[in-house]
């Protein structure tokens, strides 16, 4: 029914899809899996007309189609359910379903027809628990998702439904409900492209699995004829290409500088953690597993609400900084830098904001991080990503931290700066700091870490020693739903 052939797409000269092909039968659930950044979402956005492909063709029922606009894809029968729901919270279910296509009677919106038709659509899906006149904000996330699906169905004669990580925001019992809905949709002959990180779900639901890696299709496997191990291997199979500085020797690892016991908040559960002087600890996990929540909790930006932490449980970044904790955030431009300020003003920001903590001698620090700029007066906006990151690191080094947390330390950084940052991080550990790294790039994590903690579903799912393989990590990272479900059952 649907065929995508040789689809390629580049952004700003970076190729994120390399000739990917994919096909879908009516009534089939076809799973799409791959690591973060493998190109799954981009491929689906090409299908839904949000991005135009650079190369490749899309065929629907034997006819070549090309969409320059999401509305065209929708009209052709392709529905996309985004990871983030796009509903208006203060409008009713019916109003959302018919948003922009409200039925009109004598010049006025015909609410009665709108609600009747919505109720019909809900009934067809056996979703009678949702009243068409309920406000979206009063529904659970799972039900909002149902509304999103009904909205897609109401918009056109949907042939293909793309679901991007639909279960990520759902609680375990809601996942079952959603899967029931997916099966009913497939039963009506709709082809479903199902993106998920959770292998257990993929094996539960799908007939075929396509694995993407680094923008290329690795394989399409029949679900019945394969195993989770085979899929994981296909997802991660790549060479460790770059050089990483040597890891810490056992005698270099010293006292714990930061410990957490029973740490939890809205996003985290039962966090037990100890960071010791001299070691680099890696945090692995899929998107939404709580990696970023963890470092933000340690830094007091989204504090723990339960549990104990030494030297203290920070309730604000300022308190964390006073206790010697620093965080290099994931979003450098929005959270790491004041872009219109100079290198000097950025590097001194923490020292100035938290008196008595740091040094004002930033010249040495900027040299140490090997910053390449036109001087301390240059606005950081004009620096490359790598040099911007070096300014962020210099800013934190100026505060003389004991514990350094890095969230995606080398995202958007060129290869040369990447190696410099890796070397620097190891040096800092060697000088007695405790370092924690969150990274989506498994080779980086494996190359840098003295041990690796794997997160899943807001918990630490396990710990692996230095040199653990990508497969071991991915197995722990994708195992969570299975074990959580096992525990709940």
């Amino acid at each position: 029914m649907l065929k995508m052939q040789g689809v390629s797409k580049s952004f700003l000269g970076v190729r994120v899809l390399h000739g990917v092909s994919l096909d879908l039968e009516p009534g089939e659930v076809h799973a799409l899996v791959g690591e973060n950044g493998a190109g799954k979402s981009t491929l689906m956005k090409v299908l839904a007309g949000e991005y135009a492909p650079d190369e490749g063709i899309i065929e629907l029922d034997g006819t070549t189609v090309s969409f320059s606009h999401p509305g065209q894809a929708q009209a052709a029968g392709i529905g996309l359910i985004h990871q983030e729901l796009a509903l208006l919270p203060h409008r009713t279910v019916a109003e959302n379903v018919f948003l922009g296509r409200e039925p009109v009677r004598r010049g006025l919106v015909d609410r009665r027809a709108m609600e009747a038709r919505t109720a019909e659509l809900l009934a067809e899906l056996d979703e009678t628990g949702i009243a068409p006149d309920t406000l979206i904000k009063d529904l659970s996330v799972a039900r909002q998702q149902t509304v999103e699906i009904v909205k897609a169905l109401a918009a056109s004669d949907v042939r293909v439904l793309v679901m991007d990580e639909p279960t990520a925001p759902l609680a375990d019992h809601e996942v079952e409900l959603l899967h029931g809905l997916v099966r009913r949709l497939a039963g009506r002959g709709i082809g479903i492209l199902y993106i998920s990180h959770r292998l257990r779900e993929v094996f539960d639901l799908s007939q075929r699995i396509t694995v993407l890696k680094d923008g290329r299709k690795v394989a399409t496997l029949a679900t019945d004829g394969t195993t989770a191990d085979e899929v994981v291997r296909a997802m991660v199979g790549r060479e460790l290409g770059s050089y990483y500085p040597p890891r810490a020797e056992a005698e270099e690892v010293g006292e714990p500088l930061l410990t957490v016991a029973g740490g939890g908040n809205e996003r985290l559960k039962d966090v037990e953690l100890s960071l010791r002087a001299g070691e680099v600890v890696g945090i692995a996990g899929l998107q939404g597993s709580g990696r970023t929540s963890l470092v933000r909790a340690l830094f007091g930006a989204a504090p723990f609400t339960t549990g104990t932490m030494t030297p203290l449980r920070p309730t604000s970044p300022r308190r964390a900084i006073r206790a010697g904790i620093a965080l290099v955030t994931e979003d450098r431009k929005a959270e790491g830098l004041a872009l219109r300020q100079s290198v000097r003003d950025n590097a001194l920001l923490v020292t100035r904001a938290v008196p008595g903590r740091g040094t004002r001698d930033i010249g040495g620090l900027l040299e140490r991080v090997r910053l390449r700029s036109r001087g301390e007066d240059q606005e950081v906006k004009y620096l490359s990503g790598g040099n911007q990151q070096k300014v962020v690191i210099a800013k934190w080094l100026a505060a003389r931290p004991k514990v350094l947390l890095f969230d995606e330390p080398t995202r958007g950084v060129d290869v040369g700066a990447k190696a410099a940052i890796h070397t620097l991080v190891r040096e800092l550990a060697r000088e007695g700091m405790a370092v924690l790294i969150v990274s989506s790039e498994l080779p980086e994590l494996i190359g840098m870490s003295d041990r690796i903690l794997v997160m899943a579903g807001g918990r630490l799912a396990g710990e692996l020693p230095a040199g653990a393989g990508e497969e071991q990590i991915m197995r722990l990272a994708t195992s969570e739903t299975a074990s959580a479900k096992g525990a709940a059952a």
Binding site: G37, L212, F299, P317, E335, R340, Q341, L349, D377, K395
Partner: protein
Amino acid sequence: MSTATAVLTGAGRRLGTGAPVYALLVVLLAALAITEPGFYEPDSFLAFIKRAAPLVILAAGQYLVIVSGGFDLSVGAVVTAGVVAAAEFYGSFPDAPWVLVTAGLLAAGAVVGLVNGLITTRLRVPSFITTLGMMLILEGAVFYWTGGSPQGTLPEAFRAFGRGTAGGWLPWAVLACLAVGAAAWWLMRSDFGRTLIATGDSERAAALAGVRVPRVRTLAFLGSGVAAALAAVLVAGFSGVSAQAGRGLEFEAITAVVLGGVILGGGRGSVVAAMAGAFSLQALFTLLNLQGVSGALESTVQGFIVIAAVGLGAADYGRLRRRRTPEESA
């Protein structure tokens, strides 16, 4: 070598942030010299600075708020309220020492600024709304209090600050102007000033670097309130009592700051350039006046300036803004 380069680019950057306003000021002052040959007689030039002083001081205060990412629309009303309050106070206590009354006004200005700041940062009311409300509240209160025609006269001792001279030739207002300029320049080079600008540039980045954002932004409003009260003292001395004493000054101050190249929304601009913007605006008004252009057109001219200055600034900003890159979330 790297130090030398840094110093050079540093000087260039500092000039660069406000360069157009300095050029504009020079042009306007030259035009004034041609139109009015006596303009550079010491007395008449000092009188010009004296007239400009309240606006320059207001611009310095407004700068603090704008560069930290807000607006202060209440300063004109603070000036009016200050003038009227002083007159009413002297109506009841004719013998009150001027030092005490001046100090009282400055303290009251600080309180108004503090309230503006706390409402904006703690209740998260946008500063535009907070200070607009404060402006209306103060204007209404003054009108209710005075019935539209304030009573009381201001003693000579109090008015001396606004219209008298030190040593018989140097107006106190000029000294006040210099003092505020020096203080503002020093403040913006201090840790507080650098932190304030960084906060205006990126509140999130500042907060994650340990900056107490609400406190810093509240202090900026407080500074603006004190500056407005000081301007009230000068205006009271210079023009005497009127229920319209501060009318429109908030927009003149914002125009001056914008003319000085300070970006609305915060994060960029120099306080010295903002004050130069105030001088430019005053010079322009003087020039129009000498050319026989009706004073009624002042606000029209101001309107053109604000739109042109922000438009040019925005064009520049738009070109430099980083291009959006698609998020790869797969």
